[in-house]
Symmetry: C2
């Protein structure tokens, strides 16, 4: 386990919550080493991690300081826990979100779409072209239901970086992470069952749960620490929860990385109540720190965690390559995968295996992590500048989405006609809740390389929000 | 409607059932015109169709004759109807079938895999390479959940040839036909429901039904006329059947094309009992006659038929491009498709749209129809020559699989160790039944260009069968 990450998380939370003033000196390496009973090297590693995350600055021969420009705005608040599981709300808004994509003149801040125009994807395009041209025949065949073996071998190598060991035979390639999650849910649950999910949560996951006739228990989540283990424990004690689903690393939409000790406690809870965990690790390789944080699966020695992931956020969603490491549920998941869509298309798999085997993936990831982190800071700054006072902003530790919480009175759905008129797309907060929460929230994507239109769009949204709030000064429904 | 096809089907059935001797003169064009009250042109069209199907021969200035070489062996028999719906049997054998694929030295007669090494697929490989190289960016994006629009426009054009008109907006591209069928079943049925299916039937479909907790009513099927409408009517009268599923054109595994008047009667039955039909048209474009027979959907004006298809048999399964025209169930199917796997990979879709748009598809189909029909005749001849007496062989009107029925005493599963030893793969009859029927049957694929090893393999299987039958001369369990 990486003790330095635990320390970095603890210290990072304190800094972000304003325990130290901007520009203030942080505890010395020696002080922390004594306080936390860790080696000096571990503290230094933790500080380097915080530096990468923009939460600490080194001053030569002086020590570590809180950056002067540290985000002064408050973090989004945690919702209060629900007393019971809820039925899921409708998918009309999700469908709208997906459809808006097609208009190309739109400033698209809504979808969780990575930057696919980066030059570091060039070797992938070359591999795709070569595969289409030369190695055409095998790529036209049906292949192993589990997926192309060369790709599974590369995935097994990537797993080591996420802290776990896995045989290529224990993996199943899927059509995107969506299919991995869908197979996991169908392997574990029957209609009417209850699933505990982090809240706010990925809308696609909630649509899977709805489609399968499931109820959800929404567990409030802290924008830094992640899912509330206290609320989860309470839910598990009181309800027959069949599975826990969450994104422990660089969560969508909040962007937290659960500290290592909290991951361990989560797994212990799952063991105590004998419940499987569906871990979505799709953003794990986009954590801004390096080496990347461990997957929850790294702590699991019982096959209890079904790890789902894909290259849709790290490389390109159009590849439609995901995978699942379903642990002890392997046979059931394989069968569901086969009956749902047969094998996954081999051509993109072979091309991605070549891209990975050629060593291009770490180069690409390094570039994207930097771009996404830099653009997180820039977009946060714009939001602070242009949005109404009282706006709260998440401080993601990975990925490329910001979660914005506006004053309670502000209904972001009221933006819809104005946003359409200006060809700006955002993701409304309500689609991240099963029960209509987060009307005063939105998620903004900061993936694509910014243009002058990006700042313009944020400014426009700010103006629209002010218009809405002026129109309803007394309206305090959340 | 095409009256000539009706006539050709009726006449073809009579010829195949031995109503005329080999080499005998068939009724004159004028006689048939009077008997069936159709034009002379219609009768001539019907005879040309029969000629293509190998069932009639023109002799200049003399008329039409039964070919001298017409298959003398009997057709497979129809099983007796079941009194009630059944639970589905296990998938172990199906998994075995899929796994055997990987060994490349195997003579693969088991899987429904088209010949992808044909030169007429070259333009597709070029399109795939070009798409990977030049148009890389759009192909890396998420795209419309319904699929790439250019492809849907081409599919709408193909629909016209199958006799129906469809807006590109009424189509959803899926990950192979398997996903189309899976979405259709999930849109129509809940666990415990009963589905009526043709018997014998595609094993992948039965696995979908099993996975979704459904029961099936197996409707006996005639190798020429298709599903028994009498047995179906009886089933619909007595049981709360939720959907009917079948392959009306170039059915897998029997290869029949349901005559037009029987298709109409099937649809009328579905209307009377208000039941939707899941039509699998995956082999429709591989009917040996041209123009191709109409889809059942061509007769449907209520959106009752959910047409499922793919390019897995006509182009290449590795493309993983299927589609569904779900009629009045569109919204539900779209939602299930989205939650199951998200959008389908765009790169192969764009490449196939270019292949179709470039006019390569009819050229390719013409070549493949000829190859598959020629190889059907050759393989039938080998089976007649090498298999035990009493063997019955289907006479498929499209596609690339032969259905072989052996004497009742012969358990084809007993071949398994011997086939493995000789690296020969076949599809055992039992996987085409939900209830363990067809132990004395097998399906042989005649798609790949034959080599000397193909005849050797058929000869080997014949020898093995004789060995089994000699060992159990008294054993008459079916």
């Amino acid at each position: 386990m990486s003790r330095y990450l635990d320390l970095a998380n603890a210290l990072g939370s304190r800094i972000e919550q304003g325990a130290y003033n901007s520009g203030a000196r942080l505890p010395s390496v020696r002080e922390l080493s004594t306080e936390y009973r860790v080696s000096l090297t571990t503290v230094q590693q933790a500080y380097r991690w915080l530096e990468v995350a923009g939460l600490a600055q080194a001053r030569p021969r002086s020590g570590w300081y809180v950056p002067a420009t540290l985000r002064p705005s408050a973090l989004p608040s945690m919702v209060s826990p629900d007393p019971r599981p809820v039925d899921l709300s409708e998918w009309g808004q999700v469908q709208d979100l997906l459809e808006l994509e097609s208009a190309s003149e739109t400033v698209q801040l809504g979808r969780g779409m990575p930057d696919v125009e980066t030059p570091s994807l060039r070797p992938l395009q070359i591999a795709l072209a070569r595969e289409g041209r030369h190695a055409g025949i095998p790529s036209l065949h049906y292949n192993d239901i589990q997926g192309v073996r060369a790709l599974r071998e590369e995935l097994a190598r990537l797993a080591v970086e996420a802290g776990y060991r896995l045989s290529p035979d224990a993996l199943i390639v899927t059509t995107g992470c969506q299919e991995a999650l869908s197979c996991a849910v169908r392997a574990l649950c029957a209609p009417g069952d209850i699933v505990a999910i982090a809240s706010p949560s990925y809308h696609g996951m909630m649509q899977i749960l709805k489609e399968n006739g499931l109820q959800v228990f929404e567990i409030p989540s802290d924008p830094i620490q992640g899912i509330s283990l206290e609320a989860l424990e309470l839910a598990l004690e009181q309800w027959p929860v069949k599975a826990i689903q969450l994104i422990p690393n660089a969560s969508n939409p909040l962007g937290y990385i659960m500290p290592e000790h909290r991951k361990l406690k989560l797994l212990q809870l799952a063991q105590r109540f004998d419940i499987p965990i569906i871990e979505d690790d799709i953003y794990g390789d986009l954590a801004y720190c390096w080496p990347r944080p461990h997957a929850l699966k790294a702590l699991d020695h019982e096959g209890r965690v079904l790890l789902c992931s894909s290259f849709s956020k790290t490389l390109a969603p159009g590849l439609r390559i995901g995978w699942i490491a379903p642990g002890r549920y392997f046979d059931k998941v394989l069968r569901i995968k086969f009956t749902s869509s047969g094998p996954t298309a081999p051509l993109p798999q072979i091309a991605v295996a070549k891209f990975l085997g050629g060593g291009h993936y770490p180069v690409h990831l390094r570039r994207m992590r930097r771009q996404y982190q830099r653009q997180r800071d820039i977009m946060s700054e714009w939001v602070r500048r242009y949005f109404p006072s009282g706006t709260r902003i998440s401080h993601p530790q990975g990925g490329f989405t910001l979660w914005i919480e506006l004053p309670d009175a502000c209904d972001t759905l009221a933006l819809d006609p104005m946003l359409r008129e200006h060809s700006i797309a955002i993701a409304y907060g309500t689609i991240f809740s099963a029960s209509g929460k987060y009307r005063n929230c939105m998620r903004l994507s900061h993936a694509s390389a910014f243009s002058s239109r990006t700042e313009w769009a944020i400014q426009q949204i700010g103006t629209m929000l002010r218009t809405i709030m002026l129109a309803n000064p007394e309206d305090h429904h959340a």
